[in-house]
């Protein structure tokens, strides 16, 4: 009986994931190549920051506030220095920007303006600078990302996060809090 429940549940989850991935199902071969390229670029950044993090003192799972602050600051400064010549668009290439904009638009079809405003646009992100290689201010909230959208956006290493800043989409490194890249007018 228990096995039947588990199997039926597995099917339910598969159905959910498939439904969530509806936007991906209409992707062409060219779209898939763009996504693969985006994910490759995200992975390249991840490998790069892993090398930098490897040189820092490891943060234990039971850290003090001082240890967390030192770790974040030193990680941030090291990556900033190493990426000082980085430019906007290294991950969000023109092709990726266009495709991601389309994926987001598809996902938000049917949304009322008021719903969009409530879940994304009302968040307090006014003081977030739309610049790469600068920290996301601690005082600013992190907009909740819709799970359905995360299922259809390209997959990134776990340290990297998509976040909306007003209508724009940024990629944030969750440990050093740096904005790695951004694209404008991501939201419809």
């Amino acid at each position: 009986m228990r096995n039947i429940r588990i199997i039926s549940f597995a099917f339910a989850i598969l159905a959910f994931l498939s439904a969530g991935a509806s936007a991906q199902q209409v992707l062409s071969a060219a779209d898939k190549r763009i996504i693969a390229d985006f994910e490759k670029r995200a992975n390249a950044y991840y490998q790069f920051r892993e090398r930098i993090e490897g040189r820092l003192k490891k943060l234990p799972d039971n850290a003090t506030p001082e240890q967390i602050q030192i770790y974040k600051t030193s990680f941030q400064q090291s990556v900033q220095m190493a990426r000082r010549r980085a430019t906007q668009g290294e991950l969000f290439t023109p092709a990726a920007t266009s495709l991601i904009r389309r994926i987001i638009k598809t996902e938000f079809v049917g949304w009322k303006r008021s719903e969009l405003r409530k879940s994304v646009l009302e968040a307090d992100t006014k003081a977030v600078p739309l610049k790469i290689n600068v920290p996301y201010p601690e005082s600013q909230e992190l907009v909740e990302m819709l799970p359905q959208l995360l299922l259809v956006l390209p997959q990134m290493p776990r340290a990297l996060r998509f976040r909306f800043v007003s209508r724009n989409l940024v990629i944030l490194d969750r440990e050093n809090a740096l904005i790695i890249d951004f694209m404008r007018n991501a939201l419809p």
């Binding site: 549940f9 799970p147 809090a177």
Partner: protein, 287 residues
């Protein structure tokens, strides 16, 4: 000069409130049984404000008669900054009495919390944004509703599927159901978590984000609580006409005390003034 006068007045007012709290006797509606699972639930705490501290005093006062040994935080543990001093001002100092008494806090992350909080020793997250822990026959799932990606959904699915605990309890920041005027129900999160909760017999879900207390009428057998007035208050934000509300309170800060005795969960909600604003029981369903 004006600022000094305001500070003095504010201190005077806070002292009056504190005096009021001292005068208010502890009134426990929970059974306070031997060997039961006793805990506290609170959220949206991290302001470091006098009001947060006043509520913390009431929490400590209640612990003297109701010895809960752990607390769950439903997110927004740190508003406005996360320097080392912020951890002290917004968490360690307000809850010093509880921490000194050995109360263990288990945190989840809100939209104002950086991911690095998962490394903080006093949040007991062991470096994870989402995790599970057990207390007696109850399993607790701390979820990150602010970034519910494929990895987290898979983790939840796997963990819940193999969990035979008598009680399965989830806590996270965003409320799948809410009567709040400012935010309201987080329908995106609900679409993902609710099927999992139903399928695997999650009985109770604690959330925050809304700066008030609300007990939602059971939804598909699951009881949802919003306990997001631990440090901030959005007074008058609850829609009076909401069909979701079983009980709501949005005129003062509040926290929840919970006790699990076998198949019954008892709860009591207490305001900063020490008033009991809600209480009741939830029966565990047949699995």
């Amino acid at each position: 000069m004006k600022r000094i006068l305001l500070s003095v007045l504010s201190l005077f007012f806070c002292s009056l409130v504190a005096l009021g709290q001292d005068a208010k006797p502890v009134s426990l509606t929970l059974p306070n049984a031997k060997d039961s699972i006793k805990f506290l639930a609170i959220g949206d705490t991290g302001t470091g404000s006098p009001q947060q501290r006043e509520l913390a005093l009431v929490m400590a006062k209640y612990r003297k008669v109701y010895p809960y040994d752990f607390a769950i935080l439903v997110g927004d543990n740190m508003y406005g900054g996360e320097k080392a001093d912020d951890f002290k001002k917004k968490f360690e100092e307000p809850y010093k009495d509880l921490l000194d008494a050995g109360v263990k806090f288990y945190a989840s992350l809100g939209n104002h919390d950086e991911s690095n909080q998962r490394f903080y020793e006093l949040f007991n997250m062991n470096g994870e944004e989402f995790y599970r822990f057990k207390k007696g026959g109850a399993a607790f799932y701390a979820l990150n509703s602010n970034y519910m990606d494929r990895r987290q959904i898979k983790w939840m699915t796997d963990e819940l599927a193999k969990d035979n605990s008598g009680w399965k309890i989830a806590f996270m920041h965003h409320p799948p159901y809410s009567s709040g005027g400012r935010h309201g129900s987080s329908s995106g999160v609900r679409k993902v978590v609710e099927p999992l909760f139903i399928q695997h017999g999650v009985e109770v879900v604690f959330t925050g984000h809304e700066h008030f207390y609300e007990r939602i009428k059971p939804q598909q057998g699951i009881t949802y609580f919003i306990t997001g007035a631990g440090g901030k208050l959005r007074e008058g934000d609850i829609k009076d006409t909401s069909p979701l509300t079983a009980k709501a309170f949005d005129t003062d800060l509040s926290f929840m005390l919970i006790e699990i005795v076998k198949d019954t969960m008892h709860f009591q909600v207490i305001s900063r003034a020490g008033e009991t604003v809600d209480s009741g029981t939830i029966q565990r369903r047949e699995q």
